[in-house]
């Protein structure tokens, strides 16, 4: 009988600790599949975030080094500058990348560091219990916006990926969603492209992945995926925002 499904080689045989319906497990798998397919497990270094994915190093069977909250792209810069033949990626949430680490992220991108950032956006601070993040949508209820986010007081959702796409340093910038199997496959394709851009030395690459957080959204897993597609994708349009390989 033909074997049609296997666990990626660079994922350890350890069950994920993530909540039911959380997108991290899927995104971990996509990153692992890409590492396997590109055959880079012997030269890849990952940087997990402070956030729900803080224990990512328990799952990936590759070199990983924890960075302080928000500092992923700065630490990645150090790795890459010292060992340019290594493939470096950060795995960061929206608290990590779009709040506390905004400066590091924008400047690494602007310098065109040859690193890849996988940016998981679930519109809340997940690990600390669902507080409002810069990515929280207008009227979205969180534990620090109990009546919903109000633009006049708390501003607007921060589309950091769009900001990064306006810079000259980045080579590949895209936003995807886990809402459907087809979109998950598109996400994987984009993550692969981001790593390939780094391998070719073209510049900074980033893939934002819109991901559900049923626990903090107070939704069932099924409803969280519906919310992802009907609400989040409206606020954060999916697509490739910048791709230097497509230039003539």
């Amino acid at each position: 009988m033909k074997k049609v499904f296997t666990k990626p080689k660079c994922l350890k045989d350890i069950p994920f600790h993530y909540c039911p319906g959380c997108g991290h497990s899927i995104i971990h798998r996509l990153v692992a599949e890409v590492i396997d397919e590109l055959k880079i497990s012997d030269c890849v270094i990952g940087i997990p975030p402070a956030g729900c994915a803080v224990l990512a190093y328990n799952y990936f069977d590759i070199d990983m080094c924890e960075a302080p909250h928000g500092r992923g792209c700065a630490v990645a810069t150090g790795f890459k500058r010292a060992q340019p033949d290594k493939i470096i990626f950060t795995y960061q949430g929206d608290g990590d990348m779009a709040a506390i680490g905004t400066a590091e992220t924008l400047h690494a991108a602007n310098r065109g560091e040859r690193i890849t950032a996988v940016f998981v956006n679930n519109a809340v601070y997940g690990m600390t219990g669902g507080q409002m993040a810069p990515t929280t949508m207008i009227e979205q209820k969180t534990t620090t916006s109990p009546f919903g986010r109000r633009s006049e007081v708390e501003g607007y959702p921060l589309l950091i990926t769009d900001l990064i796409a306006t810079l000259k340093g980045p080579a590949y910038v895209a936003r995807h969603s886990l809402a459907t199997p087809a979109k998950i496959l598109a996400t994987k394709k984009s993550i692969k492209k981001a790593f390939e851009v780094q391998i070719k030395g073209l510049g900074f690459s980033l893939v934002e992945v819109l991901s559900p957080c049923p626990t903090n959204w107070k939704l069932s897993a099924v409803d969280a995926y519906k919310f992802l597609e009907s609400k989040m994708e409206k606020e954060f349009p999916i697509g490739v925002l910048k791709d230097v390989t497509k230039r003539k």
Binding site: P68, G70, I100, P134, T143, S145, P146
Partner: protein, 392 residues
Amino acid sequence: MGGKRKGIEVSLAIAEAVGQANADVIAAYPITPQTHIVEHLSELVANGELDAEFVPVESEHSAMSVCCGSAAVGARTFTSTSSQGLALMSEIFFIASSMRLPMVMALANRSLSGPLSIWNDHTDTMMVRDAGWIHVFVENGQDAYDHIFWAFRVGEDPDVLLPVAVNFDGFILTHMIEPIEYEKDETIKRYLPEFRLKNALHPDKPVSMGCFGMPEIYTEAQMSREDGVTGSYPTIIKAWEEWGELTGRQYHPIETYRADDAEYCIVTMGSYGETAMEVVDTLREEGEKVGVVKIRLWRPFPFDEFRGAVLGKKALIVIDRAISFGGPGGPVASELRSALYKKEGSPVIVNYVAGLAGRDVSRNDFRNIILEGKAKAESGDTEGFILYGLRG
């Protein structure tokens, strides 16, 4: 609100105290185990129960910066953090006291990275020991609630004008539901006058803050800060006395339990004091002449009260919740040794470092520490420190 006994999580009681104190500006970033405080404050603001600006900034560095800004224009200012958040704040943390800006921080003590940990010890607060803030350690939920008012009262006093950190143990207190006596809003109003910062930034009366300190003035500026922290002592004592008169709950910079006739005392800071008292009761029944000395006020350090409480004892068994790597021992024991140096009747000090990153220190552990510490003192084995419970 207020005027009754309530079973409530300590973090929520702290938030409600900040509400009763009528804070004007709250700026914070979520970090475990502090988070419930600012979550509850955001609810109080959203519900209209507290008329304040709640600013959910993008990092602790910005939180402390916002606090400096709001305090500089004369707003009653509150923040809360822990561990890595405090580390990220630390640049501005030092500046706040230098600019003599009153604000209150509920500092949910948690270990610092690395290794990364979310659990309780005192490594975070020891990092900012020398930052020019007033530091108080509370022992239980009631202490925590009471000290929010005390902290605003002391820090905002025109004779003080300093930021105040209320240290309380992460998880051990933050996540504990305790019975807490709430005070009536009228009582708080009587205790806590409206904040009026004499030299607040205002276009009608311009002042410069945070100026460059050239070598000609930097030394004098630091002496002024030292005078400010040391000189806050009488106000601190008065604020405790008045709180005691209003509520019947009296606090002191150094508090003792069964220590008067004790030959050996265990010295604690924070929530460990309660377990220590339990264990001392048991040991007393067994005939051991032991007591507890609790350090409530950490900065300014109450030298006279401390010496008065311990001179004449045979030994102090000091529990530290942090290590000074490569140094003379835990930071608390190190300071106590210094405070007692060449004083007549000084007890010897046996230093234990225990309960790092939330490792449980049970009643039985306290018993072991006291009895083993006593034996070490008797045998003259008092150098350095013992890392209690170290495996392997």
